[in-house]
């Protein structure tokens, strides 16, 4: 197997045995990128020379020593671009500082390498809303990789990256992981610092890994989790050893099957694969328990009030003054703001800013925003009640396999509704993972991956990873 197609775990064994060097991995990756990324389009940029210098000095005794890790292009690395897939930051922005996850990866010996494509400002679920380029699904180049962390997922799936970080506000790690057949973990709210992640919706955003194996996801989470004085939402709670119990199996665990996630809106082929995965876990000793999460149907409406509201506030910093695009020859200061934002933002971003501004505006705040926050409480309570009965919950990640590129509905609501299976985890702040559970034939000679979603209680990543390990094919 080529180095570029290997897991972190196997590369680490070969590195510590002295069989290979970090430079060999980077060289192999760069060959793979040059050969195949022109058709996949996962990378927005990469700096091989800087990575080689860093890799030469990597401490191989550390847990991720010598491993290159790709970053979604909304995570800051000092001296590198951070475009967020937007015309706003395409030029005129070089990161003046490191995100905490960047520092943590480096402290664990990893080498940040590559800036991965995403829907503009992480808003979307296809990576078609990147203003800079399209990313294609390595399993079927006519199809989307999912999004918004589509570049991260496609690179890992296409053997163009060993592992990657993404961000997940409403499914943006899990859904592309499902569509591309890789592992994608959204940690619990507060588990990983967001300092240096360009904010989309601050009460929902989390950074997490996209990897080839569950073990690799555990290795990366181990490196990036833990308190950070620069992110007050990052919890000061000890980080357990995620590898310790990874292989303990699922005997005796109770796994919930929420009926609301298996209704007629789910493609029968997807449902069959998820149910088969559940049956395998049952055969491995887990007990399946039918449960109900009665407010699931309200997740889309709740999310599409709260997330745009927070985005409209967070994106007000893009004003053409301090960094990024500034419109030429503005009439006055107000025109500078308006023209820079008009030129810099794409349609989906503008639509969400307007929606968010509307639901926060005078006269509508109570009817929309306050009410959505209360329904969010109901959605959280659904899960809190479930944890009294079960250790984790099994569900699909997306209602269908990856659709064709360019076949998005002209009605954004239809796209938003396809997020139904992933939004609740962000609203409730719990952890969730997508792990490949099989493929569906496309009818055109390709096989489309499908992910099993496992949802766990807040800070329940150790058990989540253990179940994911048992479910891994």
């Amino acid at each position: 197997m080529s180095l570029a197609a290997s897991s972190i775990f196997s590369l680490r064994q070969r590195l510590t045995a002295g069989e290979i060097s970090p430079a060999d991995i980077l060289a192999d990756l760069s060959t793979a990128i040059l050969a195949r990324d022109p058709e996949i389009g996962a990378y927005l940029s990469f700096d091989l020379e800087a990575a080689q210098i860093e890799a030469a000095a990597a401490d191989l005794s550390l847990p991720l020593g010598g491993i290159p890790i790709a970053l979604k292009d909304n995570i800051n690395v000092l001296g590198q671009p951070c475009t967020c897939g937007s015309r706003f930051l395409e030029r005129g922005y070089t990161s003046p500082y490191n995100a905490t996850v960047t520092e943590r990866l480096r402290a664990a010996g990893a080498v940040p390498f590559g800036r991965m494509n995403l829907d503009e400002f992480a808003m979307g679920s296809a990576t078609e809303n990147s203003a800079l380029q399209i990313t294609r699904n390595p399993h079927d180049l006519s199809r989307i990789p999912g999004g918004s962390s589509g570049g991260s997922a496609a690179a890992v799936a296409g053997n163009l990256a060993i592992a990657a970080l993404g961000s997940d506000t409403g499914g943006s790690i899990r859904q592309p992981a499902s569509h591309c057949g890789v592992v994608g973990l959204k940690p619990s709210y507060g588990r990983v610092s967001r300092y240096g992640l360009v904010a989309f919706a601050s009460s929902l955003d989390q950074i997490g890994p996209l990897t080839r194996t569950v073990e690799d996801a555990a290795l990366i989470l181990q490196a990036i989790a833990g308190p950070d004085r620069r992110d007050s939402t990052c919890l000061d709670v000890p980080v357990p050893d995620y590898l310790e119990d990874l292989k303990k199996g699922v005997a005796g665990l109770r796994l919930g099957i929420p009926k609301e996630y298996f209704d007629e809106g789910i493609d029968p082929a997807v449902r069959a694969l998820v149910e088969a995965a559940a049956a395998r876990l049952q055969a491995a000793g887990a007990e399946l328990v039918e449960i109900s999460l009665p407010h699931t149907e309200h997740a889309v409406a709740t999310y599409y009030i709260i997330a745009p509201a927070e985005a409209s506030s967070n994106l007000s910093r893009f004003d053409g003054i301090r960094y990024g695009r500034r419109a030429p020859s503005p009439a006055d200061l107000d025109d500078l703001y308006r023209s820079s934002r008009e030129e810099g933002f794409g349609a989906d971003v503008k639509r969400r800013i307007i929606l968010g501004t509307y639901v926060l505006s005078s006269g509508y705040y109570d009817a929309y925003y306050s009410r959505a926050q209360k329904v969010r409480t109901l959605i959280r309570r659904d899960f809190e009640q479930a944890w009294g009965q079960v250790d984790a919950i099994l569900a699909p990640v997306a209602p269908t396999p990856a659709r064709k590129i360019g076949e998005a509905s002209s009605d954004p609501l239809q796209e938003y509704l396809s997020d139904i299976c992933t939004l609740a985890a962000n609203l409730a702040g719990i952890c969730a993972i997508s792990v490949p559970c099989g493929t569906v034939p496309s009818g055109e000679g390709t096989e489309l991956p499908v992910g099993l979603q496992i949802l766990g209680p807040h800070l329940g990543e150790a058990t989540l990873l253990r179940i994911a390990k048992a479910a891994e094919l």
């Binding site: 009410r371 409480t377 609501l413």
Partner: protein
């Protein structure tokens, strides 16, 4: 719930977005469809339910007040579209008398 008609031009002004006529028309249609879906929350009884603004169990976290280095001026200014005299240059803010 609120009336689902939305004055896109007015909200775009609040958002400091310019928008072309075409964008206004498209957003009007799309946002009315989204708001139509969002109306469904109006049917839920949320009387007495506490709102969730953050899904965290802790609030008002304070870190120790320890001074540390800030970004150097040149690191901040490297990204400024226009600069002069170690400052970010902007169009004139104060109007002529």
């Amino acid at each position: 719930m609120a009336n689902q008609s939305i004055d896109v031009r007015r909200i775009a002004n609040l958002s400091r977005l310019k928008l072309t006529e075409e964008e206004c028309g498209v957003f009007q249609r799309q946002l009315e469809s989204i708001l139509g879906h969002v109306e469904s929350l109006g049917a839920l009884d949320v009387e007495g339910i506490e709102p969730t603004s953050y899904p965290a169990t802790v609030y008002d976290v304070m870190r120790e007040d320890v001074p540390g280095p800030s970004l150097p001026v040149e690191a901040v200014l490297q990204n400024a579209p226009e600069q002069a005299q170690e400052q970010i240059r902007v169009p004139k803010v104060i109007a002529e008398a």
